[in-house]
């Protein structure tokens, strides 16, 4: 069985009314490992993630051109988009604990997918919370509200929820914005552990985070891909592209 979780993006252009958010982006993201995407604000990073799980289509005034293939399958041809979204875990900048108990938060996606057996859910909840490094903190109060956790805990809860349906791809969008440095470190450790099991796409505005974690790094600017390369090369003194050098070394951005 071939490895699953590879993404192939071909000439993706996304417009919000008249504004171009992504301009002919083509990327090839290999299965497994951490794929870091860096770039200044408004460079189209978030739009890219939303395009992958097709949530972008439900926003007003958006037009999408181009194709995305996951494991060689064109996502536009997938009829059950909910199935597609279940294969992709998404974590957005601000943590969102659903107004449910911690347990129900994590069991939400499996239940939606039709799993209701208690033993199975218990197992999923524990596994996901452990993977997100939250289990030890909340195992005694799984019934309390997820929204009452601290920001850092909520972000890990969000990650646990994203992991609950055993995704092949995990996308994180600037997850550390609302999280303290210690929690950030813990989540980073989690990601390093997970990267052998799934493809992780890490969008970040912290170039050092990309440097620490990324196997490959992609630099985007103004809706275009500027450069994709081995992380080490991107952060070396000679990445081969002046713009990349300037951004990575803080000349702009």
């Amino acid at each position: 069985m071939p490895e699953t979780g590879s993404i192939e993006i071909k000439d993706l252009t996304v417009r919000y009314r008249n504004k171009i958010a992504l301009d002919g982006v083509s990327l090839s993201i290999p299965a497994k490992g951490i794929y870091a995407i860096i770039g200044p604000a408004n460079s189209g990073k978030t739009t890219l993630l939303k395009s992958i799980n097709r949530t972008i289509e439900s926003e007003a005034g958006v037009s999408v051109k181009g194709q995305i293939f996951i494991d060689g399958r064109n996502t536009k041809r997938i009829r059950d988009i909910y199935e597609l979204r279940r294969r992709i875990g998404m974590v957005f900048p601000l943590p969102v604990g659903l107004p449910l108990s911690i347990y129900d938060n994590v069991a939400y996606a499996p239940r939606i997918a039709g799993k209701h057996a208690r033993s199975e859910l218990d197992e999923i909840v524990e596994r996901s919370l452990r993977q997100a490094a939250l289990w030890d903190e909340v195992k005694d109060r799984l019934k309390s509200l997820g929204t009452m956790l601290s920001g850092g805990q909520q972000q890990r809860l969000t990650i646990a929820r994203a992991l609950s349906h055993d995704p092949e791809i995990l996308c994180l969008d600037e997850f550390s914005i609302a999280v303290d440095p210690v929690t950030t470190m813990r989540i980073e450790d989690v990601l390093v552990e997970l990267k052998n099991k799934m493809t992780i796409i890490l969008v970040t505005n912290l170039v050092q985070q990309a440097r620490r974690l990324g196997d490959l790094t992609c630099f985007m600017n103004m809706g275009k891909v500027v450069q994709v390369d081995e992380t080490e090369k991107m952060f070396s003194d000679n990445p081969g592209n002046q713009l990349t050098y300037d951004y990575v070394h803080g000349v702009f951005g």
Binding site: N53, T55, S58, A60, Y82, E83, L84, R85, R86, M90, F92, L94, V96, G97, L98, P99, L100, Y108, A109, I112, A113, L145, T147, T158, R161, A162, S164, H165
Partner: protein, 303 residues
């Protein structure tokens, strides 16, 4: 800058400032008194009504049927009729109104069609009750052939209460943050699953408040039921809970108050007042329930 550095004088009140502050105080008092003035009728009239109604306000008055051409007895027939119409109208208006609110807040995109629907809701809310009555007469009584009956009257009331249920549902749904929905969509939940599992459970209190407020409105309305089913008198057993069939005409509290106060000479004054007080009490009690419910929801935030 003569006083530069002299902090005492810098903050001392000048003639101008005193004048300004005096004007401010006076204006505040005027507006405050105006606010109190519009509330005097509420308190004053309620008290006045209750005092004058007192001799007739007994348990018997509620459970007895009108006797001697409305000049004695109670209001049971009218009370039950009002409960019937309110219940039937809610059975229709609540599902339709709540679903319409869900459509407008959760599904509708921002385009010309949605704007027309919203405009229609605003308009429906502004149509005078007597025009609703004409509509009920033309559509349900005559066209649909339901005749003058509880059904016709309830359907008319339902359409009248619909816009307010739609608007309050919309507002309750709007109070649930968009991020919750996005999180669910990203987890592979469809729109309806998201609404069912997250949005509705967290807005049900607000929706309920809107519905209770509609109970008051439906109970108090007179014009819409006048030509669609309410009658002057209908013989009913004392304390009978099921006196009317849905296809029959009925007595209603609001219409009863209108007829006995304008068309029946010689009704004891305290009976008139008591009827008004029962109607008013019914409406204000439900309103208070809605307000208490809303305050409790507001205080018990989940996020």
């Amino acid at each position: 800058m003569k006083n530069h550095g002299n902090t005492k004088n810098l903050f001392a009140a000048t003639e101008l400032i005193n004048k300004k502050l005096r004007a401010q105080r006076i204006v505040k008092w005027i507006f405050g008194l105006m606010s109190v003035a519009i509330l005097i009728p509420l308190v004053g009239l309620t008290t006045c009504l209750i005092i004058r109604a007192w001799p007739s306000l007994t348990w018997d008055f509620l459970t007895d049927v009108p006797k001697q051409g409305m000049r004695s007895g109670g209001i049971w027939s009218a009370l039950v009729g009002t409960m019937y119409t309110v219940t039937f109208s809610l059975l229709v208006a609540v599902p339709v109104g709540v679903m319409a609110g869900i459509y407008l807040n959760e599904y509708a995109r921002d385009n010309w069609f949605t704007r027309i629907v919203n405009l229609a809701v605003v308009n429906l809310a502004g149509v005078p009750s007597i025009v609703h009555a004409l509509f009920g007469l033309g559509a349900f009584v005559v066209f649909a052939g339901l005749g003058k009956s509880i059904l016709s009257a309830s359907l008319t009331l339902a359409i009248m209460t619909l816009p307010v249920i739609i608007v309050s549902t919309k507002e309750a749904l709007l109070a649930v943050p968009l991020t919750f929905r996005m999180a669910c969509w990203n987890l592979g939940a469809s729109r309806w699953q998201t609404i069912r599992t997250i949005v509705l459970p967290n807005s049900i209190g607000g929706i309920l408040t809107g519905i209770i407020l509609q109970v008051c409105r439906a109970a108090g309305e007179t014009a819409p039921i006048m030509f669609t089913g309410a009658v002057f008198y209908k013989a009913v057993q004392r304390g009978d809970l099921f006196p009317y069939k849905p296809t029959e005409q009925f007595m209603a509290l609001s219409y009863h108050l209108h007829t006995i106060s304008t068309q029946v000479p010689g009704v004891p004054e305290s009976m008139l007042y008591a009827t008004a007080v029962v109607l008013l009490g019914f409406v204000l009690a439900f309103n208070t329930i809605a307000i208490v419910l809303r305050t409790r929801i507001r205080n018990r935030k989940k996020w």
